[in-house]
Amino acid sequence: MHVFDGCVFPFPSGTVSISRYALELKGLGFSGYVVAGIPPESRAGDSRAWTARYLTRVPARLLARETGKNNQKNELVYVQAGDAGYNRNVLTTPGVHVLTDMHTSPKDGFDRYCAQLAAERMIGVNLSARPLIELRDIARQKVIRRYEEIFTLQNRYEFPLVLSSHATDITHLKSPREMIRLFSLAWKEEEILWKSLESIYRIKNRSVPVVEV
């Protein structure tokens, strides 16, 4: 089993060093993790840590250029979600691995057409545990509803889901069992949740061509 934390932010984005993340996440039972916000050169030596470029607020016209930069660096590319039109654009852009920050996208930002595209192109949809922990009341209810919609679409179209802690601090780290418990607020089937913890491994090693010729 390849249980991965889909995204963590080490120093300087967070307060934790990469080696400390490695120690903590191994202790929690993860077999690997994805590190965002650092250059890939600084991550040499640990095969369980994959680097990701976390693209936020990239205009649609610049997406292809930005995602194309990673090809020679063997990085994953995470792109922050936006409205439905933007998400469709992201999902049809070559080189994108994961559509992230789904809780920030507007209502109906991820529709069945997006789900179909994600499934066809094996692009992951990232759900973060942090809003479930940090938000309260109506804000958290909205996130749970949004996640439930995405799980419903996943159940129908079977695109890969990527679960992550989005940790910037040691207190944000969750064990796989805790992640399952938190996401069970939105979806009760644990089998799908466990599969989602492994899906980044499948996305990284996908056989579908990332760059269309």
Binding site: R20, G27, D169, I170
Partner: protein
């Protein structure tokens, strides 16, 4: 009311670890747990779960709940982000039917030592544990270095006497 043994409630006990390694009073932990259960599930489920803090030993805490409600409590524990206004997480580790079993699992915390570490040319006060975890002390935090590190990240380490 005194009940016959067969009529008594059945409880489950959850061993949890507080991260980072801080010590809180049991009533502060109880408040954080109660707030989390209430905000996630409401009064009805909170009454069913009936959480109670049984024992606090360092950063380990044993929490009681009614049998059958362990999943609710575990979810609520995972959703805690603050205890008494201090950022902290409560990580459920093990569930058992008796407190004694969980007490046996609590590891002793004798392996922690104060030290001075040099990180990126800056000397700062740290706490070092046996597994190689190094936490910067609150007052010695600099923005140029991470707060939670390991021995790989430091240039020099001198233990305080």
């Amino acid at each position: 009311m005194r009940l016959r043994p067969s009529m008594r409630e059945n409880f489950r006990y959850i061993l949890a670890v507080i991260t980072p390694d801080l010590t809180f009073e049991s009533r502060d932990i109880y408040r954080a747990i109660a707030e989390s259960v209430m905000s996630l599930y409401g009064d009805s489920i909170a009454a069913q779960v009936w959480p109670a803090v049984m024992k606090v030993e360092g950063s380990h805490v044993i929490i009681r709940c009614r049998r059958g409600t362990e999943q609710y409590l575990e979810t609520a524990l995972s959703a805690i982000s603050l205890i008494q206004g201090i950022p902290a997480g409560v990580r459920p580790v093990r569930t058992s039917g008796t407190i004694r079993t969980l007490k046996e699992k609590i590891q002793s915390h004798t392996g922690k030592r104060d030290a001075k570490a040099v990180v990126s040319g800056i000397t700062c006060d740290v706490i070092v544990d046996m597994q190689g975890r190094i936490d910067l002390k609150e007052k010695g935090i600099y923005h140029e270095i991470p707060r939670y590190i390991t021995k790989e990240d430091i240039e020099d380490l001198n233990y305080d006497e």
